[in-house]
């Protein structure tokens, strides 16, 4: 199919970029925001966190940090479903997965806009 033939490299590039971002940056953020701060090992005050996240460059960073790995997820999840035998539904699966990532991107933009 012509459309799939031309769109694969596009999604793959987003996947690769997202995979790289996830590999380099996610473990530290997960450790800090998911465990260290909630468990009180360290604290980042609301004011400091807000000041940080409000900086335009940090916003750009956060956008890449959150949005790109969503495409990494979409790509891999799409193929997980196909590998589990749902090959008959490949087009709807691709639309759902990449569509969810696009929605996530919009949501990320919206949240960062509000800060």
């Amino acid at each position: 199919m012509a459309t799939r033939k031309t769109s694969e490299p596009f999604w793959w590039l987003l996947f690769a970029a997202g995979g790289m971002v996830a590999a380099l940056l996610v473990p530290v953020h997960l450790l800090v925001h998911g465990l260290a701060v909630p468990l009180g090992w360290t604290s980042i005050s609301h004011a400091r966190m807000l000041a940080l996240a409000g900086h335009p460059l940090v916003k750009l960073y956060l956008f890449a940090l959150i949005a790109l790995p969503l495409y990494h997820w979409a790509h891999r999840f799409r193929f997980i479903l196909e590998d589990l035998g749902l090959r008959g539904l490949r087009t709807p699966i691709a639309i759902l997965c990449y569509g969810a990532a696009v929605l996530g991107t919009v949501a990320t933009l919206w949240v960062l806009w509000q800060i």
């Binding site: 031309t6 694969e8 490299p9 590039l13 690769a16 891999r76 193929f79 196909e82 590998d83 090959r87």
Partner: protein, 249 residues
């Protein structure tokens, strides 16, 4: 003196008779220097002459004796009985391929795919023989040498779940060979192979399970060839987006 024996559980399938393959057990001598292929030859010569399988060189070069040995794709001429302790050893036809009879699978699909990637040196203009050879430096040879070791034994296809699920997938060996010729400094056929590789069922179908490279008896790394082809394809695509007027290589 009683000789040690080994049990082989061999897949049998008679076209036209059997609805699906069944398993038949054979007891063969367990000799230290025997490989699974020797055991199969023993069965065919001494026990059941109707057992059908492919083999030729017996030395890991021809690539025709590939079978599943205890569920792993192997050249049976290189799978020693002694490595399977007291057995039994399960011998099945290569996975993911249609079975013609017993241990013989259909090669047509792989042969078609091989042909489609044009695994030979393509020149825009052939120079006359009188002009001499196409010279190559050792470094230029090194660039593709690893990928040229493929013997078309199809073990990589038997190891590839993506091929098992999607028979249209171009598959490890065909892509590795396309990549081998793309890397060859004497070759000018990149643009002719590119359309086949860049199909959705070309390189993009691969999910990098990586088992193809694990089972290859010749140390070829088809998984690397596929991912590098993806990178090259994606780079091409990106360049054509940024510079639609630019010429592609």
């Amino acid at each position: 003196m009683t000789e040690e024996t080994m049990t082989l559980e061999v897949t049998r399938y008679r076209p036209g008779h059997d609805r699906e393959p069944r398993t038949q057990s054979f007891t063969v001598p367990n000799r230290k220097d025997w490989v699974v292929l020797d055991a199969l030859n023993h069965i065919k010569d001494r026990i059941d002459g109707t057992l059908t399988y492919r083999w030729s060189c017996r030395m890991g070069v021809c690539g025709s004796c590939g079978m599943m040995v205890n569920g792993v794709p192997k050249l049976t001429c290189a799978a020693f009985l002694r490595d399977y302790r007291s057995g039994p050893i399960r011998v099945e036809p290569l996975a993911n391929f249609p079975i013609i009879r017993d241990l013989v699978v259909a090669l047509d699909d792989f042969m078609d795919k091989l042909r489609r990637v044009k695994p030979w040196i393509i020149r825009a203009v052939e120079k006359p023989v009188s002009d001499g050879e196409y010279l190559q430096t050792p470094a230029q040879l090194d660039a593709y040498k690893q990928f040229s070791m493929c013997i078309n034994c199809m073990l990589c296809y038997a190891a590839c779940p993506v091929y098992g699920l999607e028979p249209a997938f171009l598959g490890p060996a065909a892509i590795a060979l396309a990549y081998r010729y793309n890397l060859d400094s004497r070759d000018e056929g990149y643009r002719l192979r590119e359309p086949v590789l860049s199909e959705a069922v070309g390189v993009w179908e691969c999910t990098f399970v990586g088992e193809c490279s694990v089972v290859c008896p010749k140390g070829v790394d088809p998984a690397a060839a596929i991912q590098r082809s993806k990178l090259a394809g994606a780079t091409d695509w990106l360049l054509s987006m940024i510079m639609p007027w630019g010429s592609r290589r």
